[in-house]
Amino acid sequence: MTIEPRGYDYPHQGIRVVEFPASFSALFPEPTGLTEDVWPPTQIDYLGFYLNRLGCKAVMIESHYVDRDFVDDVALFYSRSLRGYPNHCQRLHFFSEGFAEDQWRALIRSANHGGHGGATEYLQERYLGFCVVRPLPGSLIGRTVLKTFGPTAADGSRREYGSIRDYVIHVAGFRLRVEGLAFQQQDQGVSACATAALWSAINKVAPMEGLPVATPASITQAASRYFLAGGRALPSEGLTVDQICEATRSAGLAPVVVRGLALEQARAQVYGYLTSGFAPVLALQPLNRGGDGHAVCGVGLKLGDVLPQHDPQIHFRDGATAVRAIYIHDDRLGPYAIADLTSYTLSARDIVPALTIRWPGEPGEVETSILRALVVPVPTKLRLTVARMRGLAMAIGEGVGRLLPDLDRQVEINCRYRLSTDYLALAYGFGLSDDGAQTLVGETVLSRYLGEIQISGPNGPLFDVLLDATETQANPSVLACVRRAHLQGPSEAVVNSIARRLGTTLIA
């Protein structure tokens, strides 16, 4: 007799295509036993709802997929469980056009006979994204990247997803791409909501700086290395704001923490960071669930018209007032969930910013939370905060509103960060003179990230004030003022004087 051989076999790979089911949860077998939560989990229902709205018609199921994040979870936590969790997952790919199994096989045959490019193009045109399915009975939804909805909502408002990026996917020898931001459900072993939210935020900013994306396991480990006020590190009992900061530093980034004090202030912060491509972790205090808070990741904005100035003493409008709602990754729900940004009256003297998260398909069911803080992972050399940038922007906007009577209360300020390389590329479309373009692109030293204050009139941008984002104070850190297309006539002389007051010149 010999002992039973174990662990010698390679897992089986199989790729099959099925029609997108009427009930997405039908793809997922219910785990055995009396589960703690309802089945199917909300995240699966949400994904089904979202994919349906994206127009999903076919699902490709890859039975063997090694996911970097899950492998790290296994190494840290699941490998020491009695149950033999596999180290691999399954992966679902979603397509906007139905194709049957025989069509998939025909596509492979075509690729094998010189049609690889055409087959890739066929798949790419219909590709909606992917979802890694983990072998964890209660927390199936692993790394998931899906396309966003289009730029215009049904009510006419604009959608701006500032914190999405390109992901490259290889399946069956085809190289596909999808633009989105990675989402995953908390597994309650290695990660809680804060880990999942921070992981999403880092997914966007780390590649911008050439840094590896921290896995949930490495985030939880870094967070609990020095700060473990109570409880155990694993299974994760959530993270404090301090721990989120520590994990952010450990990932090679810097955490900017801003309190939510009032709607106007919080809205301006969310707007500034999200339009710059820095996803904030939003620390929420749900009103109907006392005690611990909840964390979600901001991904995009729903924007309406900029509100008119209601303060008779102020002569400019604030571009951040266009924010109506935030698209968030809420790990209890799913990717790109919508959350209205509003005020909530705690007491007569305490009116705070709040997020109202709407559950899809159930308009009556909402959860309102106080927005306690934003934690924004940013590159370490980005030291100028949005609040400081806005301090200077408001002074300039107010000054322009007073100095140019035609623009009184029509002047609009917008603040954001931008890579100087991107700014210079855009500047070729500003209509600068040849001398001006030469001065800007060839003779002006710029920091890697610029603080960009844009001053606009009703017809479009008037001028930009470029700030050195490696400084902590907005002024004197002005690198240049740049004329934009709608600054014409005598107004240019006024802006020239403003530029001199800021310690620079107007590049025109």
Binding site: Q186, Q188, A192, C193, A194, A197, A229, S236, E237, G238, L239, T240, V241, D242, I244, C245, V257, V258, R259, G260, L261, A262, Q265, A266, A268, Q269, A283, L284, Q285, P286, R289, D292, G293, H294, A295, Q313, I314, H315, R332, R372, A373, T385, A387, R388, R390, G391, M394, A395, I396, E398, G399, G401, R402, L403, V494, S497, I498, R500, R501
Partner: protein
């Protein structure tokens, strides 16, 4: 290697300007700078609250986020 003496020229504009027009421009610029300063003072109450939000109390730093 020899040290060369560089002549530093004054940065005079090519066209001649009368003292009066220079003075007028200067007065206009002074007015613009004055308005800008008044603008800065006027928005201080708005910017103060935004800067306050960057001061972090310890209870916020220990706020635990763990909801399922």
């Amino acid at each position: 290697m020899t040290n060369e003496t560089r002549v530093v020229r004054s940065n005079e504009p090519a066209e001649s300007r009368s003292d009066k027009s220079k003075s007028a421009r200067s007065e206009e610029e002074q007015r613009i700078w004055q308005v800008l300063e008044e603008a800065r003072q006027n928005v201080k109450r708005l910017t103060k609250r935004e800067l306050e939000a960057e001061l972090l109390p310890s209870d916020l730093l220990s706020f635990r986020l763990k909801q399922r």
